[in-house]
Amino acid sequence: MSERGEETNTYGSLLAAVVDEIADPLLVPNLGTNTAALMARYPTLPALHLWGGMGLTHSLGLGVALARPERTVVVLDGDGSLLMGLGGVATIGVLRPPNLLHVVLDNAAWGNTGGQPTHTASGVRLEDVAAACAYPVAVRAGGPAEFVEALRRYVAEPRCTMVVAPLPYGDPGPAPRGPEPVLIKRDFLAECLRNPRA
């Protein structure tokens, strides 16, 4: 249960909320758990599925957002990856693209190496980092209803936003076998070029 007594976030609840609430998103999921969860549930959504680049997911998302200002870019980050790239949070805070929605699935664990605790397990609050780095909106969503609420606030007034969603660590199981990185890139680029800039 969350701090407000709601149900707990799950990969299923968080991804379903993004799909339901954000129209026509470009998705940038962190390697490992997030890419695996997204591929298993929504294999056909336009996404730059990552198999590498740990610590850089949000910076990749920033690059996509700068290149495609007319599309909403949803970064599905992980706490471990983001902790590796806190400087990149500051760069996003400088540029603040309104089409960038930075979701952090915070399981407080290094998910790919056996669930060892990350710094967020000891009280580090990534939404506070984002707020200190001048993100216009940086909130914590303890449960599914709060998460949907945060997404709706973003849709109502798109401003560069971080939403940290704590969820329990669980072994996600083996990742589905997806296409090779070069094919992921090809399909993502084709999707981006499908809607040329106005």
């Binding site: 470009l26 680049g53 850089l56 990749l60 495609r68 790239g85 760069t91 070069v182 890139k185 993502f188």
Partner: protein
């Protein structure tokens, strides 16, 4: 130096038009005094966006994201920062075949005073070689002009990063 006092450096006048010819519209950088003339010009260039990154690997990731969304970019950094880029190159740019030209101000060469710059600067060429990344550190503007079109062509045609080292003699 204010912009009205600034003169376009020879390094900048060699690099910038060639980048434009290859439709490079985005740059990321971490400051380096050897190539500051280039970043100064790119910052003010119409139709070009220059992003200040906090770290060099982050800059490569921003450019990688932009490339996968249809915009070509260039990375500008110092050799010490190139040392931070191994993961971004090896686990992102190479497997996804993302082309990014890297312009690297070379410390650690002849005349270097700082021992902390020596090994890093000297490692750029062998690191590029070990990753299969085309690399050149031209000794003159004439050679730079001669190789640059080919480096950029190889970069964007083959979907690989390339690296151009800028020696102190070509500094901004």
């Amino acid at each position: 130096m204010s912009s009205d006092q600034r003169t376009v450096s020879r390094l900048s006048s060699t690099l910038v038009p060639e980048l434009a010819r290859f439709q490079v519209e985005l740059g990321a950088y971490v400051p380096d005094h050897l190539i500051s003339g280039v970043t100064d010009e790119l910052r003010d260039r119409p139709g070009f966006q220059l992003v200040a990154a906090a770290r060099e690997d982050e800059g490569l990731a921003i450019l990688a994201g932009a490339y996968t969304a249809g915009t070509r970019g260039v990375m500008l950094m110092q050799s010490s920062g190139f040392g931070l880029c191994l993961n971004a190159i090896a686990s992102l740019l190479l497997p996804y075949q993302i082309p990014v030209p890297m312009i690297v101000g070379l410390r650690g060469g002849i005349g270097e005073f700082n021992v902390a710059q020596l090994a890093g600067g000297q490692s750029v060429a062998p690191v590029c070689a070990s990753l299969g990344i085309p690399y050149a550190a031209p000794a003159s503007f004439e050679i730079l002009s001669a190789i640059l079109p080919g480096m950029l062509k190889t970069c964007f045609s083959t979907g690989r990063p390339v690296c151009v080292g800028i020696q102190r003699s070509l500094a901004a």
